[in-house]
């Protein structure tokens, strides 16, 4: 197993110091085909895409445009049918499920639309879970998880269960969990989909703050207001990347 081998071109993950920006992800001619009973269905027709450290990218596109499939591949939850995907310089196309799990654990953080916290565990345990699978000792786990929760403003709620706090707070906890393993990249799939507009703004402001501190972020959304928080906007249409440009207007920009 090469799980301990460090991929090339890695700077300390997360809020690394400013320097020559590292390439975090890079895809070339990325294709994905699903084989169903009805036949083969190609949902990504060859995507070239690159993200450098400390970027904040919003991905938009209608349903069926292939953006979810693209996100799943970027998140190492799925592998491309052809083309290459390099995460921190390492090609992940040929990795085994357990090796992919290791990459997700060490280099990636996920924020989902439905928060996806475990209902039986309190916020502290939820946030500490990536560290559990990274085999970090218990005391250290709890210390880091507590720090993360304090950082997202949930200090007083560490021992509450997800059902005992609001949706916004749950999503904050989910963000804290995504950050807890000090990932190189955080992927957020419709993070504001289940929140009202005020809480949505809070979450996006939090993302913006984290990005300002050096965190690399990708947010999938169908709301222009949310996408406006990003610095770069990418659009998908019919399995192709059709638009890729910096965001010039939006909240937080003077």
């Amino acid at each position: 197993m090469d799980q301990t081998a460090k991929p090339t071109g890695t700077s300390p993950p997360g809020n690394g110091p400013a320097g020559p920006a590292q390439t975090v992800i890079e895809t070339k001619d990325l294709k994905k085909t699903y084989y169903t009973g009805a036949g083969a269905l190609e949902v990504l027709h060859g995507v070239d895409f690159k993200i450098k450290e400390a970027e904040f990218v919003a991905i938009m596109g209608p349903s069926g445009s292939g953006k979810s499939t693209f996100m799943n591949i970027l998140g190492c939850l799925d592998v491309p049918t052809s083309g290459s995907y390099r995460l921190l310089g390492e090609s992940v196309g040929d990795l085994s499920p357990d090796q992919l799990a290791h990459r997700r654990n060490r280099y990636l953080g996920f924020v989902f639309q439905g928060f996806n916290l475990l209902p039986r565990a309190d916020l502290l345990e939820n946030v500490a879970m990536p560290l559990l699978y990274a085999k970090v000792p218990g005391a250290e786990r709890n210390k880091r998880a507590r720090e993360m929760l304090e950082r997202v403003g949930l200090g007083p709620w560490v021992h509450h269960r997800p059902s005992q706090v609001s949706g916004g707070q749950q999503q904050r906890a989910a963000v804290a969990r995504a950050l807890c393993g000090t990932p190189s990249l955080v992927l957020a799939d419709e993070p504001t989909g289940n929140l009202d507009s005020q809480t949505s703004d809070e979450i996006m402001k939090l993302f913006r703050e984290l990005n300002d501190q050096g965190l690399t972020l990708i947010v999938v959304t169908h709301e222009p207001d949310v996408a406006a928080y990003a610095k770069r906007l990418v659009r998908f249409h019919d399995g192709l990347l059709v638009h890729d440009a910096p965001v010039t207007q939006g909240p937080g920009r003077e």
């Binding site: 799925d78 699978y133 393993g181």
Partner: protein
């Protein structure tokens, strides 16, 4: 990592208390049944073993044969076809450790104000050795007693108790069929024989004294039975052939077609088979009880499969944040083992309590052995592992994307 997983397992079990309890109940009943059945079987086996040992090991019993008069056959021992000389001749065979002729007389024993009817056996000094019978008090019967035909008697525990209560009977005089005998010793307790008779309800006297004072037989020197002890178990088969040949020769039974005029039986073999039967019964009871354990295991598997389906989303989340398949499997197997082990321990307690209740109510010997406890403990953990494996494997082989999408 392990404490966190264990905590998670406890929580998952606690989240569905009723369901977990019912699942456990299968194991509780299974293990309790195994413990109880093994305890009953083991108790029976030990009882039989004790009785077998009480008869003495490697013992042959030779009974006097029956009379065949014009086709009317009387029972064995009714004709005294054995005599003391036969016993003397048998003692010369190689590998014979001890031999005693035995004559029985039902006699009324009177001591002080008490009287008691019992079987008084006339034997020689080898009797105690043949029967592996110890002396509780007093002195053993010796060759001189037999030679002189002295009026000496040794009482079994039950007889002593009936006649003397707690008073020490050694040295007292007792009347047997109105003949005074001096009590020289007290036999150790033997307990019940295989057919339930009290072996301690007896007394022994020198065979010569029995013939002189008690038998009143016109066939002096004739005996009802000879008991013989072999030096070890290996020579039993050879000795059986030699005893038969010697007795037939001595009784002039030259025609091979002619029946023996005696009955030769090897008690050890009979008893060993009784013991083997008891062991087989233990096994059989255990096997039957194991079926309920298997049923309990299937219950665990069933509930674990339901649990895996219910927690598909949780599995997806765990996989997404970096759990390997091995981590997921460990989690679910741990849960299954925890359920079955808890059930097993409860079953162990209930089974043990049940065993002692059976003992108290039916007054039979019931023995819960440490090995059956360890067995049921390991078996219940093993059942959790075995029946939890497939559900855990199913959990671990989920596709993370589909698992996350699961509602």
């Amino acid at each position: 990592m392990f404490p966190a997983m264990l905590l998670e397992a406890v929580r998952a079990i606690g989240a569905n208390r009723m369901r977990s309890f019912l699942t456990m109940l299968g194991m509780v009943i299974g293990v309790a049944a195994v413990i109880l059945m093994l305890a009953v079987g083991e108790g029976t086996r030990l009882t039989v073993k004790k009785q077998v040992d009480s008869l003495g090991t490697n013992v042959f019993i030779i009974l006097a044969g029956f009379q065949n008069t014009s086709g009317v056959r009387s029972g064995s021992g009714n004709r005294h076809t054995l005599n003391e000389a036969d016993a003397e001749a048998l003692s010369q065979l190689e590998g014979v450790e001890a031999v005693t002729p035995v004559v029985n007389n039902n006699s009324q024993l009177v001591a002080g104000g008490q009287n008691w009817n019992t079987m008084v056996m006339g034997v020689n000094a080898d009797f105690m050795a043949v029967r592996s019978w110890d002396l509780a008090e007093g002195r053993p019967m010796d060759a001189l007693d037999v030679q002189s035909g002295s009026r000496t008697i040794w009482l079994g525990q039950s007889v002593a108790k009936e006649l003397f209560g707690s008073v020490n009977p050694i040295g007292q005089t007792i009347r047997v069929k109105n003949v005074p005998f001096v009590i020289e010793g007290l036999l150790a307790a033997k307990g019940q024989s295989l057919d339930g008779r009290d072996q301690d309800d007896t007394a022994i006297v020198p065979i010569t004294s029995s013939q002189r004072y008690l038998a009143g037989s016109q066939f002096r020197g004739m005996v009802r039975m000879i008991m013989l002890k072999a030096a070890n178990a290996d020579i039993m088969t050879r000795l059986e052939t030699e005893i038969r040949e010697l007795l037939r020769e001595r009784h002039h039974l030259v025609d091979p077609m002619q029946d023996d005029d005696f009955f030769l039986s090897n008690l050890s073999a009979v008893m060993a088979s009784a013991e083997a039967t008891a062991s087989a019964m233990t096994l059989l009871l255990g096997a039957i009880a194991s079926v309920s354990l298997a049923v309990g295991g299937i219950g665990i598997m069933n509930i674990m499969l339901v649990s895996v389906t219910e927690r598909t989303r949780e599995i997806g989340i765990r996989l997404a944040i970096g759990a390997r398949r091995r981590d997921i499997m460990t989690q679910f197997i741990l849960e299954a083992i925890l359920v079955s082990l808890t059930g097993g321990i409860l079953g162990l307690l209930i089974g043990s309590v049940g065993a002692y209740m059976v003992q108290a109510i039916w007054r039979t010997s019931v023995v819960v052995t440490p090995s059956s406890m360890i067995l049921s403990f390991t078996v219940s953990a093993g059942i959790g592992l075995f029946f939890g494996f497939y559900p855990a494997w199913k959990a671990a082989s989920q596709n993370p994307i589909e698992a996350l999408r699961f509602q």
